[in-house]
Amino acid sequence: MLGALVIVFREVLEAGLIVGIVMAATRGVDGRGRWISIGIGTGVVGAAIVAAFAGVISQAFEGSGQELFNASILAVAVVMLMWHNAWMARHGREIAAEMRQIGTAVSEGAKPLTALAVVVGVAVLREGSEVVLFLYGILASGTSGASIALGGLLGIFAGAAFTGLTYFGLLAIPQRYIFSVTSWLIALLAAGMAASAVQFLNNAGFAEVLGNTVWDTSWILSDGSILGKLMHTLIGYTERPTELQLTVYVGTLFAMGLLMRLARYRPEQRVAV
């Protein structure tokens, strides 16, 4: 049971962290609960569908279907996170101002909310499909299924509890800093996802350039450990990044920063100058 709990928790962790950050990033935006729920719900349904067709997916594209699928949905998530951050750079100030007036909800929130619902959806889809496959395998084999299914269920609850912890932890940040903190978190999240996506492409036989490993820090923090997984999601940590991964990581951060700078709207500056 404990084994199943740990495996499921490890899979749920990444999606849980992303949901927590997205919830904190959309604090005060009207209708976010509905959109995030839609994202999670669609992700769970999608995970079951992906798990059901896992055999077909893995055998597609000469056995590299799963890698191409993962790379594609990570790319979608990166684009959505960029869109969100650009939108927030433009409207974050208004939202923060309106949040101070009790009872005022921000109705323009719909745009980044659909983007973030997609991010949540694909995160749940990717991790969830592995959980479904794992639990299904155990149920199918029939050996001590009940206790392991219970472990899996507890693992999902532990992951959900972790989401809450992330969310309330981020809420402890003073309100005037929360938008810049969540924007940074989302930028790092996106950079890490982009670096993962190119590695999936590399495993599928694409993007086979700059393949040398830059460093190996597996002796300090291994990718397989819980902390390693956390840091992987949070800042894109990987114990042996390739030159290509590092390039894409820095490039994504740079593109994100540039986009946010371009999107920023400063009406008071015109008055000052």
Binding site: G3, I7, A54, G55, I57, S58, Q59, E62, G63, S64, G65, Q66, E67, S129, E130, L133, F134, Y136, G137, I138, A140, S141, Q199, L201, N202, N203, A204, G205, F206, A207, E208, V209, G211, N212, T213, S218, S222, D223, G224, G228, T238, E239, R240, T242
Partner: protein, 112 residues
């Protein structure tokens, strides 16, 4: 507009060349999963070159081929197979596991 295209075109072509599969010289290896165990449990591959590993899962349940050393995380559904490309590897030992059955599913890629 034309200048824009002239500026972008070389990058687009370079990207296409870089992204297109270039696996003609890569060597193929096969790994079978049966009763939640890998066979062979040791694969010797050439160092400093790209290598293709085809994982055949003969079990009814899914397995996740997982190796942070090889930079691979790949779910292979039950009674299914999948292919993954790794390397170039420096000479050394690169352990891998089946994450769903970690107790029995273990192996190592030896690059030399």
């Amino acid at each position: 507009m034309r200048r824009m295209i002239a500026l972008i075109a070389p990058f687009a072509i370079a990207a296409l060349v870089a992204l297109s599969p270039a696996t003609a010289q890569a060597q193929d290896f096969k790994l079978t999963i049966k009763d939640h165990k890998f066979s062979p449990e040791e694969i010797k591959v050439p160092a400093n070159t790209r290598v293709i590993i085809t994982i055949v899962n003969e079990d009814a349940s899914a397995e996740e081929f997982d190796s942070s050393a090889l930079k691979v995380e790949k779910v292979v559904a039950g009674k299914s197979s999948g292919t993954v490309r790794i390397g170039p590897l420096k000479p050394g030992r690169y352990p891998f596991i089946g994450e769903f059955h970690e107790a029995t599913a273990k192996g190592v890629v030896i690059a030399e």
